[in-house]
């Protein structure tokens, strides 16, 4: 017989106690892995909209509220961008490309819709054309429009139909899934910029507020070298002044930082609390098991085992249970993560990035983005949780065996 056979017999003989230790470590590892992975996944999920908001930077200028909420208007964060300021922005170091846009709302008497006229290019028409689900692409010279898939579904529109904007009917060339394609600010209707410029030029409630010319814009989609993102954002701020509305991954992230901090820390804190309770439980269970076996340990001493050999036997037993418990917890966590289908969260976008005015009922729905993300259980997390579980078993046994005990003969002798 060797010590491993002794260990196996002992664990099987006291299977109730073994199972309790194994389960407590397993459940703790499972809880810790799931809590941390939910927190990590949540952090990633809240950052996901950044990837589909549009270009790296959306630059706008805040202006006045239209005098009458009728017909074609510029939303108040979309004031006229003076041409010379656009030129200075294009010249900023780190700017890769600037795609100009004209963003408008159409308010009654026609049904509400948001309209984006946009230049050609990878952040503009090119990207929209790449995400057409039904119908044909449009070119900068085209007189046709693209319709967002949600808007098309809601209004029963299909390629070949005509849509009234202002006083003119535009042919629908295709349906575009801009939300999935991302990389562009969302609107209900997309068109070449010259058509939108023409609409704005003849819109009385736009002209009331701004001297909008035939080649002007009120929104810039800017691609930048990611290393220069912060510098470009600051540069645009300096050019457009205090009324600048600059949306970027950076600003979105700044807003979310407190949420991310909380979710990450909360996961960690909960995992630590679970870990502490588990350590306390395993320590108590081990101390109680060692107490029950005091006589057996005294006997081992009587037949010639050293105190160190006896302590190691108990530590080994607990460590084996901890390894099995940790493995079980990790495997269960992986299975649960796979079966759960991940986490789903609804995130409200900043309203100036939304395609719907905040005063319309649809805004509540339209400004939210649902993100589904599979639970992220990294190899690092598995390693830390596994080693943590094993350490709990090892330490509990080390502490329990180090506690002062009665002299062996007191436990074994006849008197």
């Amino acid at each position: 017989m060797n010590r491993l056979q002794y260990l196996t017999h002992e664990l099987l003989f006291r299977r109730g106690r073994s199972l309790a230790t194994l389960l407590s470590i397993g459940v703790s590892v499972l809880a810790a892995v799931l809590l941390i992975s939910v927190a990590t996944t949540y952090s990633k999920a809240v950052q996901a909209p950044m990837k589909s908001v549009g270009a790296d930077i959306v630059a706008q200028l805040s202006g006045d509220i239209p005098k009458a909420l009728k017909g074609l208007v510029f939303p108040h964060p979309n004031a006229l961008l003076p041409a010379d300021e656009v030129a200075r922005i294009k010249a900023l170091p780190g700017v890769v490309s600037v795609t100009r846009g004209v963003y408008m709302w159409e308010l009654p008497p026609n049904p509400y819709k948001s309209i984006l006229g946009i230049e050609d290019g990878p952040a503009g028409l090119g990207n929209l054309n790449a995400n057409i689900t039904v119908g044909e692409a449009i070119t900068p010279d085209s007189n046709a429009i693209l319709i967002d898939s949600d808007y098309a579904a809601k209004n029963g529109l299909k390629p070949g139909d005509r849509l009234l904007i202002g006083t003119r009917k535009f042919p629908v060339a295709g349906i575009v899934d801009a939300a999935t394609g991302g990389k562009v600010v969302r609107a209900d209707v997309y068109m070449p910029i010259r058509l939108a410029q023409n609409l704005a030029l003849h819109a009385p409630h736009v002209q009331d507020l701004y001297p909008f010319g035939p080649d002007d814009a009120n929104e810039l989609l800017i691609k930048v070298d990611s290393r220069d993102l912060r510098a470009v954002v600051e540069g645009i701020g300096a050019i457009l002044g205090k009324n600048a509305v600059i949306s970027s991954g950076l600003s979105f992230q700044d807003t979310l930082n407190s949420v991310l901090f909380l979710s990450r820390r909360l996961g960690l804190i909960l995992a630590l609390v679970v870990g502490l309770f588990s350590t306390a439980f395993v320590l108590r269970a081990t101390a109680s098991a060692v107490n029950e076996r005091q006589r057996e340990m005294a006997l081992l001493q009587a037949i010639g085992w050293t105190r160190r050999q006896i302590a190691w036997q108990v530590i080994l037993e607990n460590t084996v249970l901890a390894v099995l418990g940790s493995l079980g917890g990790i495997v269960l966590a992986l299975i649960i993560a796979r079966l759960s289908g991940g986490i789903q969260i609804t995130i409200n976008l900043p309203w100036d990035l939304s395609s719907t005015p905040h005063f319309l009922p649809e805004a509540t729905r339209d400004r939210s983005q649902i993100v589904t993300m599979p639970l992220d259980i990294s190899p690092g997390l598995i390693a830390i949780a596994g080693l943590g579980g094993i350490a709990v078993g090892f330490l509990a046994a080390s502490i329990a065996t180090a506690l002062k005990r009665a002299q062996p003969w007191t436990l074994l002798g006849a008197e």
């Binding site: 005294a298 009587a302 010639g304 050999q309």
Partner: protein, 227 residues
Amino acid sequence: MKVKTMTEPAIQTENLVKSYGSVEVIRNLSLDVPRAQFSAIVGKSGSGKSTLLGLISGLETPDAGRVLLNGTDIFALDDKGMAETRRRQIGIVFQSFNLVPALSALENVLLPVVFDDRLSKAEYEVRAHDLLSRVGMEARASHRPGALSGGEQQRVAIARALINQPAILLADEPTGNLDETTAAGVFDLLTGLTRDIGTTLLMVTHDMDIAAKADRVFEMKNGKVEQ
């Protein structure tokens, strides 16, 4: 190297003192136990006879005095030295058997030699089977203590105590938990086996009939011994 002679005592205690709280159980006790003989320690309950055996085994620490086993002061040894002395020189049989409930009879017999490499595992297994056979337990080798009677458990405990062929066998009321017939069988086994291998047998007993069969009897009274 010190050569041990047949005249040198196997066990010597010198001025042993042991108290539990304010109660002095062993009072300045000196004792020589002759080698390769059967000696018995008798006395009333609470006279300190079992405590004396605990001190001799090194499983109880004295307040003062020395215990010499084959000339070695065991309390001068560290934990490793003490464990080695117990494993190689001492066998102990207890009143309450003290078998490990998770292990079979054979595994219980082999438990003292888990860390002993003087013989191979296979040779120890042969010896364990032989001992179980000699105590009449070979057929029950795979049974756990829970499936054995008191007498059978004590037979296994005797085999365990002899697996290392110890020079000294300490027996603490080994028949105290057994009926008369079983007790007689166990006693015969103990004395027979120890005589066969020339082991010094020191037995604590309250049974005067058993003590009468000893080569030497030490009577304990109030923590002291009368020979």
